[in-house]
């Protein structure tokens, strides 16, 4: 046996392969098992993980720049985060740094050593003393950077200084057009409640001609004029019209937009011609239906994924037009996520999305949903939603429920053959009626993953219509044992029941623990189901055989 050891779990080939696929939370445990496991974990650890580095110690757990440089100097392999054979960290989060023109030996050494290899960088809650400090660090120290995030930093630059925009030719000649940065994330909002930026958007974006992903956080209406979203897009437009830039943006995202209405930017978006594949839009509470529609129209031909957050207590979209149905053909769209108040829309829009495969309408997220996330598509997005919730409460929920408010008669000619996943959740959601479920099943015959509120009759329709279901989460749940087992006391008949869903891998009702799948085949066995329904096994040997004879 190659590279054998008495214990195969010490074999580096075995370990390396397993560590490549294991979730990070488990990799953390694995690294603490023994030294060989720690060593084998390093390749993936240093490739995938971000190292948080503070300039000064603000808590006992934090790694400071001084400590980090000392550790990387030491030869002891276990404490050497830069030992070459296992690769070196390439993703850094710098927190609470102070960049100034004073010659700081430690910072210079760090930037010289790690700047050239760094691929991902986030600078968070840090201070730049001047525009020059910002430029020398951000534009010049990281030649291989692919991803840059500027998050809540303070820049000691006055609003007046940003207003001075040099002529476009000067901007172009000073810019680094070779930049490899593809992902850019900007959050201009600092802890003290002010927004600032060290230079004009024109000069800044001139340095990032190859952007593919742009994520903007907290660009609401109160931001100083020079820094608002409109000006940012206008700067990009100037660069494309007068500077020869051709923006190949594939993902565009806005977050935490609260009361922003987008009416100022809808005329700019079509001119920018971003070939967007994915759009994430926080529509806040003030976006008007017509503006929202215009934005979607701009990307109707290319958009495959649309994520909409409604970070407010109300939604103008619905208040102005309770029957809002988007009204734009989105033929390429396969994934749609409507979160927070945006999850209050009805499903009438489905007629415009013939190729949809996965739809989430999630107003808020609870622990059951979080636990189920790995069994659904987009677990990361659901975790993000959960983190957002911690930040602010969605508050006064709008009493509009997507399925009950859907006009299914409008959808009678709509069939979505590709639809595999439907996830609907809101704390106050009602259970769906059998009629609604029947309408859904006609529209989405090939569903594999479903989360919805059900009672007995609706549940029976689910069991009869979607035999291919692999994941079923019922919440709220008014299905009782009679519903689950398809039996009615005193009557010798068997109605459609849980045992018809032979492909089920994950099943949970309400907030009870999920039924454990078989460890060997990863499906849920009849035995496990019987235990969950707390009933003795049926008098007949196999429910399924009996049931099939009946029909």
């Amino acid at each position: 046996m190659e590279e054998s050891n008495s214990n195969p779990m010490m074999n580096s080939v075995v370990l390396r392969n397993i560590f490549e696929m294991i979730p990070i939370s488990d990799l953390k445990s694995c690294r603490q098992v023994c030294k060989p496991w720690y060593e084998e974990s390093l390749t993936r650890w240093r490739r995938d993980m971000w190292l948080k580095l503070q300039e000064e110690n603000s808590s006992n757990d934090a790694l400071t720049l001084t400590n980090f440089l000392e550790l990387s100097k030491a030869n002891d392999s276990i404490s050497d985060p830069s030992s070459i054979e296992k690769g070196t960290f390439k993703k850094f989060k710098l927190q609470g740094w102070h960049f100034n023109s004073e010659n700081d030996e430690l910072k210079t050494r760090f930037l010289k050593t790690y700047g050239p290899v760094m691929t991902h960088l986030e600078i968070e809650q840090s201070v730049f003393d001047s525009r020059e400090d910002f430029e020398s660090v951000v534009f010049q120290s990281f030649p291989k950077l692919q991803s840059l995030s500027l998050n809540g930093n303070s820049y000691k630059v006055t609003e007046e200084q940003i207003k001075i925009v040099p002529p476009i030719n000067d901007v172009l000649s000073n810019a680094n057009k070779m930049s490899s940065v593809k992902d850019l994330q900007l959050n201009l909002w600092t802890h003290d409640g002010a927004a600032s930026f060290p230079l004009s958007y024109l000069e800044f974006f001139a340095n990032y001609p190859n952007l593919k992903n742009l994520k903007l956080c907290r660009f609401p209406w109160r931001i100083p004029n020079e820094l608002n979203l409109e000006n940012l897009l206008r700067a990009m437009l100037t660069l494309s019209k007068n500077g020869g830039y051709s923006w190949a943006l594939e993902n565009f995202a806005t977050f935490h937009m609260y009361g922003y209405s987008y009416s100022q930017v809808i005329s700019l978006l079509p001119q920018l011609q971003f070939p967007l594949i994915s759009l994430t839009l926080d529509i806040g509470c003030n976006t008007r239906p017509s503006d929202f529609k215009m934005i979607l129209k701009t990307y109707a031909n290319t958009l495959r994924k649309l994520v909409v957050y409604g970070s407010g207590h109300s939604l103008k979209l619905i208040e102005d037009n309770p029957d809002f149905r988007i009204g734009v053909q989105l033929k390429s769209l396969t994934e749609l996520r409507l979160f927070e108040t945006a999850a209050s829309l009805n499903l009438n829009f489905l007629q415009f999305m013939p190729n949809l495969r996965s739809l989430f309408l999630v107003k808020e997220i609870d622990s059951t949903m979080l636990n189920a996330a790995p069994f659904l598509s987009d677990p990361d997005l659901l975790r993000d939603l959960h983190n957002r919730q911690k930040e602010y409460d969605s508050g006064n929920p709008i009493a509009v429920y997507p399925i009950p408010n859907t006009d299914f008669s409008q959808l009678r000619n709509t069939v979505l053959p590709g639809m595999e996943e439907l996830v609907v959740f809101g704390k106050n959601n009602k259970v769906c009626t059998a009629k609604q479920i029947a309408a859904l099943s006609r529209m989405m015959p090939n569903l594999k993953r479903l989360r919805v509120g059900l009672e007995n009759d609706g549940f029976r329709v689910v069991c009869n219509a979607w035999k291919e279901l692999e994941v079923l989460i019922i919440q709220p749940c008014e299905v009782n044992n009679s519903g689950i087992t398809g039996t009615i006391p005193g009557l010798p008949i068997q109605l459609p029941n849980l045992y018809d869903l032979t492909r089920l891998r994950y099943f949970i009702k309400d907030t009870t623990a999920p039924v454990p799948p078989c460890t060997r085949c990863s499906r849920i066995t009849d035995e496990a189901l019987w235990q969950c329904t707390r009933r003795s096994p049926p008098p007949f040997p196999d429910v399924r055989d009996w049931y099939s004879e009946m029909f």
Binding site: M1, E2, E3, N7, P8, M9, M10, N11, V13, V14, N17, I18, E20, M21, I22, P23, I24, D26, K28, S29, C30, R31, Q32, V33, C34, K35, P36, W37, Y38, W45, D48, M49, W50, L51, K52, L53, D61, A62, L63, I78, S79, P81, K93, D380, T519, R520, C521, S522
Partner: protein
């Protein structure tokens, strides 16, 4: 049909079609090398695999046979997130195939799949072992796989700290 003799470390010979054998990256290279060095284009290649015993080689070939019509996955596909890949690719046949095996055999299969460059088999076998690790504490992992901590001094504490310094995204 062009055939190839694949011989295990303990001398058992398996006669398989070259088309099937070429589903393994390693065997494909070996067959091509043989073709280049051989004058007779009709000669039957013979490949000795000195690291894999007959029982394991039979299992690999059995798996290849079952999956001979699958699209070939590039070796580096899904490096960032091998999970989805393995999960999606695992059929009922795969589950039944792995079900009777003890952990030792699975380990040998991992090594064999790695050596013979059979990505799909490597994925499902690693996934099986991974499922025995996930959700367990450090001590539970040590007990399950009969491992002992060999950290010295503050090394274990250092590792714990390092876990806290690093984040996934």
């Amino acid at each position: 049909m062009a055939l190839v003799r694949v011989i295990s470390s303990d001398g058992a010979a398996f006669l398989v079609s070259q088309r099937l054998a070429k589903r393994s990256g390693k065997l494909k290279t070996e067959i091509e090398t043989f073709r280049k060095s051989s004058d007779n284009s009709e000669a039957q290649p013979e490949i000795r695999i000195v690291t894999i015993r007959a029982e394991i080689l039979r299992l690999v070939l059995q798996w290849l046979q079952q999956h001979q019509n699958d699209p070939v996955l590039p070796a580096n596909q899904n490096e960032q997130d091998g999970r989805g890949d393995a999960e999606m690719g695992q059929s009922q046949w795969d589950r039944d195939f792995l079900a009777p095996m003890d952990l030792g055999i699975v380990m040998e299969l991992i090594l064999a799949a790695n050596h013979l460059e059979v990505k799909g088999l490597l994925d499902i076998t690693c996934k099986l072992v991974e499922s025995k690790i996930t959700g367990r504490t450090v001590d539970e992992i040590r007990t399950a796989f009969k491992l002992k901590s060999d950290f010295k001094g503050n090394e274990e504490e250092q590792t714990r700290l390092e876990n806290r310094w690093c984040v996934e995204n």
